[in-house]
Amino acid sequence: MNWFLKGVRKGVRTEKTPSDVAPWSTELQFKGIEEESGVTSESLRCPTSAIGPGWIAERCVYCRRCYPHYQPTGNHRMGVVKRVEKRFQRSFYLYPIDVGTCGACNTELRLIASPQHDLTRFGIFFTNTPRHADALIVMGIMTKGMREAFRRAYEAMPEPKLVIALGACAISGGIFQTEKIEADVVIPGCPPSPYTILDALIRAKGGRGW
């Protein structure tokens, strides 16, 4: 009873529009004085050669060495959706698999379930078995131990299904410079903020984004 009342009293805390996104998890833009072509990954000592020409979201790990030439714009909608699956419009179940993360992607992914973000209002849910899943969210660098598990998880999922690569490690090898994982949806960031993740997920199922 006690907690029921507390819950009612506290009320709904889901936010209507995105707000308060950490700058260094958003899109970077050239703000330098000289020509953009003048600055390169080498000249800025970019550890993942994410500069030139322009800023390559997939590679960036936000080490800020390119600052002040490149500065955050505050735009979190960086996800790239290569395949839209309209059938998941109203019911979209995710099975996350961590193939070698530092743990930050995992936490940020969990945080899209926080009352502020509340993935369920978009008809998105986590599930604990690939059999019930519509999308496989893969994060981290592909380690030897997890390669097999990743394959099995993909095998275990019924068609139609999406593969979503989350975070710089998965989509480009990130700071560890390992292989990139092929996916239908690519969500850049190190780690991507909950806003970036939600936005991409919504667009992946045919929505207008967040």
Partner: protein, 310 residues
């Protein structure tokens, strides 16, 4: 004859089609109380609709049982919805197929087939959950039987419809045996539908009991299992409402049948409210404490039996 058929149709469709809604509402409210905007109340329908369109992945060594078991269990649930007063207050077409006890036996038939179908996948996670369900089964099944008899014995008939009418009489309603049975059945309902404090639909595989029965299924069979789950919750819940907690207000006649669907909605809002409080203020019991929960329910039902004859 025709009228009964129409009434039967309304009752059965009113069960199959409306059942998911109540789960949807309950989940929505639970979400709202836990600080979230939460999903649409129609979410269960969306899920079912999507699953019906998806492919079905079958474990390599599973047989037809795995694929078609769910179809059968769904059939049994539909049959039960003919039998017990879940919408319409009078017997409808095919109602006499089984009496109250027969209904209980049909429920255990369902769980029997469900378990075999799930175990056919040979998954250890399914086995883990099944072994738990099996070891609580003896109390659950017993309570279901005794609680159904609790009313049977006070009325002298095992016909649920007569019992409903009988309980609507205030003097019978307030009798100790009826009250005990009511409490007992509610506790059982919490267990049967995987509600707190017994179980909660979480992500952790280690805590699964009922969830394990759908763990390996996918596509259409999964849809039918989930749908069957909604129907089961609706059937048992409605029996509790119509025979135990609120045995009043049922209207007869074809038009009455339509009215009854609305009435059931009203009654269910009350049940959902009760469950909502339970679900949001309780935490999950330790595994072996669940048998205490069930033992209490069982003992209560036995007491109600005793009080009804002495």
């Amino acid at each position: 004859m025709i009228d009964q058929m129409v009434e039967a149709l309304i009752q059965v469709l009113g069960t199959i089609l409306v059942a998911p809604l109540y789960s949807g509402i309950a989940e929505k409210l639970k979400g709202v109380v836990s600080l979230r905007r939460a999903q649409s109340v129609l979410q269960p329908y969306y899920d079912l609709f999507k699953l019906l369109k998806k492919e079905t992945v079958v474990p390599s060594s599973a047989s037809e049982l795995f694929v078609y078991g769910p179809y059968f269990t769904f059939g049994v649930y539909v049959l039960i919805s003919f039998v017990i007063p879940v919408v319409y207050p009078r017997p409808v077409f095919l109602t006499p197929t089984v009496d109250f006890l027969g209904g209980a036996l049909l429920f255990s038939l369902v769980s029997f087939v469900k378990v075999l179908s799930a175990m056919d996948s040979k998954s250890n996670y399914v086995a883990l959950g099944v072994s738990r369900a099996a070891s609580f089964g003896f109390l659950a099944e017993a309570t279901l039987i005794t609680v159904f008899f609790a009313v049977a014995i006070s009325t002298g008939t095992n016909n649920p419809y007569v019992e409903s009418a009988y309980a609507s009489n205030p003097s019978h309603y307030l009798a100790l045996d009826h009250l005990l049975a009511t409490v007992s059945f509610f506790m059982l309902w919490l267990f049967e539908t995987g509600k707190l404090p017994v179980e909660s639909q979480g992500l952790s595989e280690m805590g699964m009991i009922d969830d394990s029965l759908t763990y390996e299924h996918s596509g259409k069979p999964l849809a039918l299992l989930k749908w069957g789950g909604y129907i089961k919750a609706y059937l048992l819940g409605s029996v509790w409402l119509n025979v135990f907690l609120l045995p009043w207000g049922g209207q007869v006649g074809v038009l009455g049948a339509f009215f009854d669907i609305g009435l059931m909605f009203a009654k269910w809002m009350i049940l959902i409210a009760i469950v909502l409080v339970a679900e949001t203020s309780l935490a999950k019991l330790r595994l072996f404490k669940i048998q205490d929960h069930l033992a209490i329910a069982f003992v209560l039902s036995v007491f109600s039996l005793l009080f009804s004859v002495i």
